[in-house]
């Protein structure tokens, strides 16, 4: 049994941490980035690529330098700490996961992603499919030697700035059939998109497409497998991101308890507040433990992988709510302001529960995978 990181991973952690600390100094910097045209900084994205942060998410088989559960967790925990909004999840992780899991992996495209030159978004969610892996209403059909798709996709992270989009669409069967789904690669310039910011600062888009040309990446069992793998990988990354956010929320709150004085003393001297801080600390250690377990089994068979990821993501949902709400409550009024950083951390932490399956979804999936 070994709970420590290897030397290589420690180095990765230190390098990425230093980079984020320098480039993402404070919440103002984040605001500047999200006010840019694409909702993030192209310059920062390119620097991330030069430093090997994107390749840290991708296996050496496809030209990356990492891609293990631990690599993903290390990087995303640091993303959480800095509250960075660049397309690490959409392009760096979800799309590259699918492009590398198909029968003929798109290594060239993956390399362009690694180089920071290509952005690919993964568009699976629809307005009413909640978190389901196989609930797909968008349609695909084969016509004149070409695949075409029509329908709409929702909440597509970086769906406006992506060069290409991976879209799930139904080739045959009923709306919730497990079989009959295809994954398609399309050029984004064929798609109408309506872009907007999410409440936690990300750029997202609603996509509409009507009989546009698409390249089939995979279908049926493999397509479903890819969607599940992408969603699981995303859930692991978001869980690790949440650990980083929780730690910052805790540290900021503790710091504030020392400086804020009421009734002639620092509010941190009150026992009722100290006990709540202990509860937070304890639950953060629980989440950290669950994420460590999920990262360590990421490369095993899919049912162990998904079961442990679901355990982590469920706990993240439950504990995230506790940490976000308590951080705001213990800060008091100041946490209600846009200017102070804790609110932005709290918002991201809460919204993480609305991505890649919430606490209820992952609890139910955990149940299902435990009973097998």
């Amino acid at each position: 049994m070994d709970f420590s990181l290897s030397e290589e991973r420690k180095m990765l952690q230190e390098t990425v941490a230093r980079f984020f600390e320098n480039s993402y100094k404070d919440i103002k910097k984040r605001s500047e980035n999200l006010d840019m045209n694409d909702g993030f900084s192209r310059e920062f994205w390119k620097e991330s690529s030069n430093l090997g942060v994107i390749s840290g998410l991708i296996s050496p088989i496809f030209g990356g330098l990492g891609g293990s559960g631990e690599d993903i967790s290390i990087i995303f925990e640091l993303i959480g700490k800095s509250l960075c909004i660049e397309p690490f999840l959409s392009s760096g992780l979800l799309s590259s996961t699918i492009l590398s899991s198909i029968k003929n992996p798109k290594t060239e495209l993956i390399n362009q992603i690694i180089d920071g030159e290509l952005l690919v978004s993964f568009a699976h969610m629809e307005m009413n499919n909640r978190y389901d892996d196989h609930f797909v209403e968008s349609k695909a059909f084969f016509e004149n030697e070409n695949w075409k798709i029509n329908g709409s996709k929702s909440f597509v992270i970086n769906g406006d700035s992506a060069d290409k989009v991976i879209i799930s669409a139904r080739i045959e069967g009923k709306i919730n059939d497990k079989n009959g789904i295809g994954l398609f690669l399309v050029d984004n310039n064929q798609i109408n998109n309506r872009s907007y910011n999410t409440i936690d600062g990300y750029r997202s888009a609603e996509l509409n497409f009507d009989n546009i040309n698409a390249e089939l990446l995979c279908k049926d069992d493999l397509a479903l497998e890819c969607i599940i793998k992408a969603n699981s990988t995303g859930a692991l990354a978001l869980s690790a991101e949440a650990v980083g956010i929780m730690q910052v929320c805790f540290d900021l709150t503790l710091e504030y308890l020392k400086t804020r004085k009421q009734f002639g003393k620092s509010i941190g001297s009150f026992q009722s507040i100290q006990h709540r801080m202990v509860d937070m600390m304890l639950e953060i250690e629980q989440v950290r433990s669950a994420v460590m377990l999920a990262s360590s089994t990421f490369e095993t068979n899919s049912s162990t992988r998904d079961k442990n990821i679901s355990a982590a993501k469920n706990l993240v949902g439950r504990v995230g709510k506790l940490i976000a709400e308590e951080s705001i409550q213990l800060h008091g009024g100041i946490a209600m302001t846009w200017e102070y950083s804790v609110a932005h951390y709290a918002k991201r932490l809460i919204m993480i529960d609305h991505l890649m399956g919430d606490a209820d979804y992952h609890r139910d999936r955990f149940k299902l995978l435990s009973s097998n």
Binding site: M1, M281, M292, R318
Partner: protein, 398 residues
């Protein structure tokens, strides 16, 4: 990072498991499984077996008769004991007093008491709590007046677990009343057969006799029974309380309780279907299982840090809090799982040899009783509120 047990550790687990299979009598594990009352002889039988094997003092340094196991091996050992449904190892002599004597006892005390602990010759009890000194332990009132060659002890201890079996008791007593409470406490070893010692049972809310009051009236205690220095007992007491305990989270107990819960909720019916198929109930079970899974890793992280010589500080307190909450939650869900079957209370069911028809399924009998009994775990060993004070003080810098 790698959370698998090594080959060597797995081999060790098999060794412990096989040994338990060979030496633990069926009737005894059956009693433990059914929550039947254990006699003094039941505890002693298991502990004598451990003594013979050389495993009784698994926390001690090797030169005093300990096993030399690292924290992971200790953890495996504790896990296997629970899995085998063995009686618990009565901790007062071997886990509590032993380490204090090794650290602070005189050569004479070590030479006399340690071998006796290793051979289970004395049944020790713990004399800490008093009616007026629970969480505020230093406010204890039992006095030991220096009378030259002996102390004269007067006062009352309470919550003395299995004190009715005890031959000896280690006590915190006041030897100086004129200083700050913490500075006037001494650590005294008292023979339970001394004139003036009286044990009175306390019957707990589940109807059981496990804890006692111990009264001291003009009890003469020889000077040589003082551990360490007079008035420095608080240091020793704290040492005992923070003594490395890998098992503080009770992970093995909660794991076996969770399995039991799943079994019961497969047999309990709701609307003609097994309760485990009820989405609300199974969700509660699943989230409990997730909490336990996370805690197991948290515990192993702490255990593993201990093998590298890092003393668990606040982690022990955090694990104590979470461990008790998880364990209590399993007893709560077990109780809920039974529905009205939780109502019947047949105290005689827990006597050895009882073989009448139970009311409802056999497993139902102890569940409500066990639920009430388990309320104690967030109170004893430093209540969860005290643990929170400890963590806040140690790591927040507030």
């Amino acid at each position: 990072m790698n959370f698998e047990y090594s080959k060597k550790e797995e081999k060790f687990r098999i060794e412990v498991r096989n040994w338990l299979k060979e030496t633990l009598p069926k009737y005894l594990s059956e009693k433990v499984r059914k929550y039947q009352r254990l006699t003094k002889e039941d505890y002693e039988l298991f502990m004598n077996n451990l003594s013979k094997k050389g495993w009784i003092a698994w926390h001690w340094p090797e030169e005093y008769g300990g096993t030399g196991w690292n924290a992971i091996e200790k953890h495996i050992f504790e896990e296997e004991i629970v899995k085998a449904s063995a009686p618990r190892i009565v901790p007062f002599g071997v886990n509590m007093l032993g380490p204090v004597l090794i650290e602070f006892g005189s050569e004479e005390q070590k030479n006399y008491y340690l071998p006796r602990i290793l051979n289970n010759e004395d049944w020790w009890a713990q004399g800490y709590s008093e009616p007026g000194a629970g969480s505020d332990l230093a406010s204890l009132k039992t006095t030991a007046i220096n009378k030259g060659d002996h102390y004269l002890v007067n006062g009352q201890k309470t919550w003395t677990t299995l004190g009715h079996h005890a031959d000896k008791i280690f006590c915190l007593v006041k030897t100086d009343l004129n200083v700050k409470p913490q500075l006037g406490i001494s650590f005294l070893l008292i023979d339970m057969y001394s004139p003036g010692v009286e044990v009175k049972p306390i019957i707990t809310l589940d109807g059981e006799h496990e804890v006692n009051e111990v009264w001291f009236t003009d009890v003469k205690v020889p000077k040589k029974n003082l551990v360490g220095k007079e008035n420095e007992g608080w240091t020793y007491a704290k040492y005992l309380l923070t003594f490395e305990r890998t098992g503080i989270a009770g992970v093995p107990n909660s794991k076996s309780a969770l399995n039991h819960l799943k079994m019961v909720s497969r047999k309990s019916m709701k609307n003609g279907k097994p309760l485990i198929e009820d989405p609300m109930f199974s969700s509660e079970v699943a989230e409990l299982e997730i909490d336990l899974l996370a805690m197991e890793i948290f515990n192993l992280r702490t255990v593993s840090a201990a093998t590298e010589g890092k003393a668990p500080g606040m982690e022990s307190s955090l694990l104590k809090i979470k461990g008790t909450l998880v364990r209590q939650k399993t007893t709560e869900l077990l109780r809920k799982a039974l529905g009205p079957q939780a109502l019947p209370y047949l105290p005689e069911q827990f006597d050895e040899g009882w073989n009448e028809m139970p009311i409802g399924p056999e497993y139902a009998g102890p569940i409500a009783k066990q639920y009430f009994n388990m309320r104690k775990i967030s109170i004893y060993g430093g209540s969860n509120e005290i643990q929170k004070n400890i963590v806040a003080k140690a790591s927040f810098g507030l």
